[in-house]
Symmetry: C2
Subunit: 271 residues, 2 copies
């Protein structure tokens, strides 16, 4: 991303393709680098197959996140979109399992195309390639599942074809003989230097006004607040920095168990 | 888009922001210009408010389509994603009304946040700003509606802030006193010259292999075929060019009525 930013400063905009990588962490981290440089930032990455194309039951695409950031005139409040192109991700089921809760219908399917809600079954099914997450928009085409699938395929192309890298099944982490091999994930980074279009302050005013107008939209009865992308996360970060990281009771139990098993006396767990 | 293509040829990639425009037709038309030049093409546009942000009941955003095209090694079969960031659009209800059919639950809401299915009511409600289309992912956050909303907001920013143009409510086509004024729609166009990254033929091979692997995915029982973005439209175009444009019976009736009303004897309608 830094290379894209440096090139964008000279040329107006630039993009960089990365090959032979692995999980690159929080996608939204990279657009924020561009935002701090007064630029628009965008990134996407492919990932291990876990998402079924529309009308398929098979995990072919990764959760293929797309992240986009733009500066606004609100201090420390950029617009930051960072989302998998699937409805939910594997990590959601890990949290649900710890909390003893079920997933929702319409999030993922088994080999017959039926809903699966039990997070334990889901995590095993995903690992074995016997279940698949659904793209944003859900199963079939009636509610736009083909659009989520199309976005995931767009991310797959941007993340692999510009650098001759691995894609789809090539990212399962095993070769034809079943031996483990590197994942060879690919990424795409892009930066647009706003000053090449319009004064940065003007851009920030417009982007900020869009955020404020969206927040002030009339609400569904019973709902207290309209958010814009990145706002929940920014507020959550502020809270966590002030009060510490919340640890749910199931994870507390795991930590205590591991501490006892390993005979560790420090750190003193606060629970 | 031609300007973006010309600049991308020189610099590797380029983008262009357009102001004071109106409906620009089929979004996917522009990426195809880039594809024919051996490039990746992307465009998006804002539009008259018709889509509610997550947890809002009010039409704030346009259907804000995003279109992306990339060349493949299959002749006349580029990857072409072209989709509104809402689940459906106004035009869907115009077709349903002609066919005497209902919309589906989860596509749009009235001011109480309830589903509306009757296309006549929907078309009136949209016109009056009393109903709103839902973003891709649907109402609330449970199935990723905030992602569709975030994508629509991303398109809004790209389409307006780079050129100091109108946005959201500014696109209703009326001034504060209720007088008609131009819509002032904004667009964003981008082209990436693939040869600046990798030989075009290599890119095409990878993109084509992605399409073929996706098409060959195991299917949901009872479903015959997996499509990739742009494929249905390309096949439909081929069929229409061979056999003509299908005209449903309600539209046939309209055409006959208008022909009689205006006393036209030509063209001879084939129905």
């Amino acid at each position: 991303m830094q290379l894209a930013i440096d090139k964008a400063r000279a040329c107006g905009m630039a993009s960089v393709a990365v090959r032979n990588s692995t999980h690159y962490g929080i996608a939204g981290y990279y657009p924020l680098m561009a935002v701090r440089s007064g630029m628009i930032g965008l990134t996407c990455t492919n990932a291990r197959p876990s998402v079924a194309p529309t009308f398929s039951i098979h995990p072919m695409l990764g959760t293929n996140p797309l992240a986009f950031g733009a500066p606004t005139d609100e201090e420390n409040r950029p617009f930051l979109f960072d989302a998998a192109t699937s409805i939910v991700q594997r990590g959601k089921y890990e949290v649900l399992e710890r909390e003893g809760k079920l997933g929702l219908a319409g999030w993922m399917i088994d080999r017959s195309g039926n809903d699966v809600k039990d997070p334990g079954a889901v995590l095993e099914g995903l690992e074995a390639g016997l279940m698949a997450l659904l793209p944003l928009g859900g199963a079939g085409e009636s509610h736009g599942g083909h659009k989520g699938y199309g976005l995931a395929a767009m991310v797959e192309i941007l993340s692999s074809a510009l650098q001759g890298g691995a894609f789809l099944y090539g990212l399962i982490g095993f070769d034809e003989k079943g031996n483990r091999r590197p994942y060879c994930v690919g990424h795409f980074f892009m930066a647009i230097d706003i000053e090449h279009f319009t004064p940065l302050e003007e851009f920030k005013k417009t982007a900020g006004a869009i955020m404020r107008q969206l927040r002030s939209a009339p609400k569904v009865p019973g709902h207290g607040r309209i958010f814009v992308a990145g706002e929940k996360e920014a507020e959550s970060e502020k809270l966590v920095r002030e009060r510490g990281v919340p640890v749910n009771s199931a994870l507390q139990k795991d930590l205590k168990f591991m501490q006892a098993e390993l005979g560790l006396t420090r750190p003193q767990l606060p629970f």
